[in-house]
């Protein structure tokens, strides 16, 4: 049996949602590591784009910032935000984007801006960045979150980025060009969205967790299908390669 940490598991799991040949918005952090892992394994022909302006990047060291110089060397083009978010993303050319969030609701809408009331916020979070744009325009959206009851809420404190908004037809109403969230990856499970209701639905449960663990940690009614398979585990090769990509353990932590 393969030994792995939670972060290694999540990185491999996220990588599985990147398909070969796709145009990918990697951002930073675990999604970037996942995209790089995918490129080194099953998806060698992805076009990795950073919203700061790098196109078809092959960083030899893992970048810390979307604008990190580590994205530059060997990339195919280095331009700017109008190019990446306007000409590429808003024109519908991004296949998959990754986002994290502090809160998510049952339609996959995301909050990355405020905790507490808008008028008197308790905590200021980073804000949208390119998040709203990616959630509006990417063909598929993969959301990565820590699983915590306070994060899976019935009502967001602030809706930064659109998921399926109020359900069927509401993205169309606003002319959003992307397909919306496809999958949510947490440290307990993977969730997708019911095609009829556009509500979040349990998809797979990670080794070591049960369906009930998940249900205990969401504040809305999660759709649970009859069969909930276990999430596949990472391979030795995936773990080895992700550590080669992050030799200093910036994202994976020091110990293997």
């Amino acid at each position: 049996m393969v030994k792995y940490t939670k972060i290694e598991f999540l990185t491999a799991c996220a990588a599985s949602h990147v398909r070969d040949g796709e145009n990918v918005f990697g951002g930073t952090g675990m999604p970037l590591l996942a995209a790089l892992l995918a490129k080194e394994t099953h998806a060698p022909h992805i076009n990795l784009i950073s919203e700061a302006g790098f196109i078809d990047a092959h960083p030899r060291n893992v970048p810390l910032s979307v604008a990190d110089s580590r994205y530059y060397y060997g990339c195919a083009a280095a331009i700017g935000l109008i190019e990446t978010l306007g000409f590429i993303l808003q024109a519908g050319r991004i296949d998959v984007g990754f986002l994290g969030a502090a809160q998510i609701d049952e339609y996959g809408n995301l909050n990355t801006t405020y905790i507490g009331p808008y008028e008197k916020p308790k905590v200021r979070l980073p804000g949208s960045g390119g998040g709203n744009d990616i959630a509006s325009c990417a063909k598929r959206l993969v959301i990565m979150m820590t699983h915590d009851k306070r994060k899976f809420v019935k009502k967001l404190d602030y809706m930064t980025s659109p998921g399926h908004l109020e359900g069927p037809g509401s993205r169309e109403k606003w002319g959003l060009i992307g397909g919306g969230p496809e999958v949510v990856i947490t440290d307990m499970c993977q969730m997708d969205f019911d095609p009829e209701t556009k509500k979040i639905r349990l998809m797979t449960v990670h080794p070591g967790y049960t369906v009930d663990d998940v249900l205990d940690n969401v504040m809305f009614d999660l759709i649970v299908p009859e069969k909930v398979p276990q999430t596949p585990e990472p391979t030795e090769e995936q773990i080895r390669i992700m550590h080669e990509l992050d030799p200093h353990g910036v994202y994976l932590g020091k110990g293997k």
Binding site: R19, D20, G21, E22, N23, P44, H45, I46, N47, F54, I55, D56, Y72, G74, C75, A76, A77, A78, I79, I82, G86, F87, I88, Q90, A91, G92, R93, D95, I177
Partner: protein, 320 residues
């Protein structure tokens, strides 16, 4: 003509291919032009005397394409050729003439005989229409055109030509011009790698926006270079591969116009062209000799003569 296209770098809107199916984007001029259907719209790259896709215009004529619409800021003998040979039926442009030489004679005759319709804009308006198309928004705001007949009169777009509105923020008058997303963008560049990453030397005119606004982009390049050359200077990439569907590599694509760092314009040929097009008979003679009388671009270059072409080659450091 249905070659599967994709690249090492992946292609937008075409992402399910596996490695075994990754083909080269490089095709012949004949193959590229065959993809254009009668009635299609084309963003037409180049500006003034610079990087005009003349060889593409020639092949459109040879393949007898009809009822095409050209979207561009200003073009010169390329439009004259296509209009003269009845390839185009509509133009959405700001300018057509042969700078320094005079009016566009073929356009003048075809307008008079009702063979083409021109929807008139300004250079800024057209450039913004391409920017809007590239951004995938339906219109762009500008502060020109207002008060003139460019606003008041329309050929065939009717009230879809443009709209003058009161700005909802400032109350000022603003002119909205509709974005353009034609079937193809045709852009001529200096060099490209096999994936389609393209570098442009000299001014870009409206080609950055124009290359990104078409549903498909065909890049015409003077030269193909190794991927390393592109990736060594990623800031020089004007058009990333992900936008590029097909690549045609040929020398002297723009002759008798110029291509910065590659060759100067052929003023003698240009003057001959302008003089011959003064009459329909003269134009037909040119058409028969230089376009229909040859099978392809290299035969055209042979007629022009390689000694002449050699004399046009750009000199360093001036680039012309």
């Amino acid at each position: 003509m249905s070659r599967i296209i994709n690249t090492h770098s992946g292609t937008a809107r075409c992402s399910q291919l596996t490695e075994a199916e990754v083909y080269d984007k490089v095709i012949t001029m004949e193959e590229a032009v065959k993809m254009v259907h009668d009635g299609d719209g084309l963003f037409w790259g180049g500006f003034g005397y610079q990087r005009a896709p003349i060889a593409f215009a020639h092949e459109l004529v040879r393949q007898k394409k009809r009822n095409l619409t050209i979207y561009t800021c200003g073009s010169e003998i390329d439009i004259e050729i296509m209009v003269g040979a009845y390839v185009l039926s509509r133009l959405e442009i700001a300018f057509v003439a042969i700078e320094a030489l005079g009016l566009a004679n073929n356009v003048r005759r075809r307008v008079a005989e009702g063979a083409i319709e021109i929807e008139d804009y300004s250079n800024l308006a057209m450039a913004m229409r391409f920017l809007g198309g590239a951004l995938n928004v339906p219109f762009m705001p500008i502060r020109t055109l207002m008060g003139t007949d460019i606003v008041n009169k329309s050929r065939y777009r009717g009230d879809k030509k443009l709209k003058v509105i009161d700005c909802p923020f400032t109350g000022q008058k603003v002119c909205l011009v509709p974005s353009v997303q034609p079937e193809f963008s045709i852009v001529h560049v200096q060099r490209v790698d096999k994936n389609g990453n393209a570098q442009i030397d000299g001014i870009v005119g409206e080609d950055l926006e124009g290359s990104r606004c078409g549903k498909k982009l065909i890049v015409l390049a003077e030269e193909i270079v190794g991927e390393e050359e592109i990736r060594h200077s990623p800031s020089r990439t004007a058009i990333p591969a992900m936008y590029v569907h097909h690549i045609v590599v040929l020398p002297f694509v723009a002759h008798p116009m110029q291509c910065h760092n590659y060759y100067d314009y052929d003023l003698e040929h240009l003057m001959m062209f302008h003089k011959m097009t003064k009459t329909e008979e003269g134009w037909q003679e040119y058409l028969d000799e230089y376009i229909l009388g040859v099978d392809n671009h290299f035969e055209y270059l042979n007629i022009v003569g390689w000694e002449r072409l050699h004399s046009l080659r750009a000199k360093r450091p001036w680039g012309y």
